[in-house]
Symmetry: C2
Subunit: 191 residues, 2 copies
DNA sequence: TTGACAATCTAGCAATGCTATATTATTATA
DNA sequence: TATAATAATATAGCATTGCTAGATTGTCAA
C-alpha cells in the first residue's frame, strides 16, 4: 500500500518546511525571531505539531546547522577542485570559508556559535560533520604529516577569523592579509 | 558634604554586586540561569532597581565581559613577562589564553561568544578591549612587520582553538600540538 | 512641619517554550 | 456500511522570561 509511503513523504516534507522556514527567518531577522509560534504560523499548523517533529527548539536549530554542514562540505570541495596549484587550493578554500560564513551569518551561527550538542571528535558524530571535516582535511593533507592536528588548527584559525570579523573585532579591510598569513603558515610550518 | 559621596559609593558597590552575582551564577549554572529576578533576589533589591543601573540584561552581560577583558589583559601580560626567550613568550601566552578560556567558560562566553555590542576595530572601542588587544600585540611584535595583521590573526587562531575545543569539536588531547603549530606559524611566517 | 523629590517596591503586561487535554479525521472491524 | 479504535491535529493554558507603569515609602530643604 502506498498510503503509508505518501504519509511519511508528506511528513518528511512538512519537517523540511519547518527547517527551511527557521533558516529563512533566522537569516532575515536573527535567531531570536525564530519562535515556535512563528514557525507554526509559517507552515500553517498548530504549535504542538512541531514537537512531533523535533524534541525542542534547539533541535530545530541543530537541523539547520546540519543542513549548513552539508552545504559547507560542497563549498569546500568546489573551492578545492576549482583551483590549481596546491597552495592556491589552500588560499581559495580559506577565502571560500570566510565568504560562506559571512554570506550566511545565521546559518554559520547555528553551525558554530549557538549552543548545540553536535559534537565532532566523539563517537556518534553526525556523518555530515564528519564529511565537512574530511573535506578540509583533504585540502591540508599535502602540506603536513599529522593531518588531524593540522586540520583542526586550520579550521580553528578560519573559524576564529570568521567569528572575530563577524563581531566587528577585526578590520574587514585586512581580511585578505589575514588569510594570506594563515595560508603561508600552513604551507611553511605544517612540516 | 560627604553624603552625596557616600550615596554614589554605595550605588557603585551595588552595581558591582550585580555584575559579580551575574558572573558567579553564569559560571555555576550557565548564562540562562542569569535572570533579572534571580539577580534581584541575590542583591536583595527589587527588579526595577537593576534597570536603574543597566539598560537591559545584555548590558549586564557586557559588564561581565568588560571585567573579563581586564583580567585577560593581566593574564596575557603575566604570561609574557614570566617567560624568557621570545619564542617561549609566544607559547606561554598561547597556553595561558586557552587556559583562561577554558577555566572561565562563562566569562569567555560573555567576552567572545554571546552577542554584544562591544566592538573592537572601531571608534569608541572600550579602553579595556583596546588594552587587551595591545597586550597581545606586544607579544607578537618581535616576530612581524605588520603588527596589526599578525595580532588579529594570532588572536583569531587562539579564539578558534578555544571555541572549537569548548564545543567539543576538536580533541582536547591534541591541544598542545595545535598550540605548537600556531606558535611555529607566527615565528616562521610573521615575516 | 510640610511639601517636593528621590529611591524603591508592587503588580502586571506581553512574549516565550512547552504540554495536558479536547477534538476531529482516518482507519479497521463487525 | 455503521461503528469503534486510533491516529492526527487543535485549543487552551502553565510557568517563566524581560521589562515597565504606577503606587508607596523614605529623605531632605524650606
Amino acid at each position: 500500500m502506498g498510503i503509508a509511503e505518501r504519509k511519511s513523504r508528506e511528513r518528511a516534507e512538512r519537517e523540511y518546511r519547518i527547517v527551511a522556514a527557521a533558516r529563512v527567518i533566522a537569516e532575515r531577522e536573527g535567531w531570536d525571531a525564530v519562535t515556535i509560534r512563528r514557525l507554526a504560523e509559517e507552515i500553517e499548523y498548530s504549535q504542538p505539531v512541531l514537537y512531533s517533529h523535533f524534541e525542542n527548539r534547539d533541535a530545530i536549530v541543530a537541523a539547520v546547522a546540519v543542513e549548513g554542514f552539508r552545504e559547507f562540505t560542497v563549498v569546500v570541495r568546489e573551492a578545492a577542485s576549482g583551483s590549481s596549484g596546491r597552495r592556491n587550493v589552500l588560499k581559495n578554500v580559506a577565502m571560500a570559508y570566510l565568504a560562506f560564513a559571512l554570506r550566511h551569518p545565521a546559518l554559520y551561527e547555528a553551525m558554530f556559535i549557538l549552543p548545540t550538542d553536535l559534537r565532532f571528535a566523539e563517537a556518534g558524530t553526525r556523518p555530515e560533520l564528519h564529511a565537512a571535516f574530511q573535506a578540509l582535511a583533504a585540502v591540508v593533507t599535502p602540506f603536513c604529516v599529522d593531518v588531524a592536528v593540522v586540520t583542526e588548527t586550520f579550521w580553528a584559525a578560519l573559524h576564529g577569523l570568521a567569528a572575530l570579523e563577524r563581531s566587528g573585532r577585526v578590520r574587514p579591510s585586512a581580511r585578505g592579509e589575514r588569510i594570506a598569513l594563515v595560508v603561508r603558515a600552513i604551507v611553511v610550518s605544517g612540516k
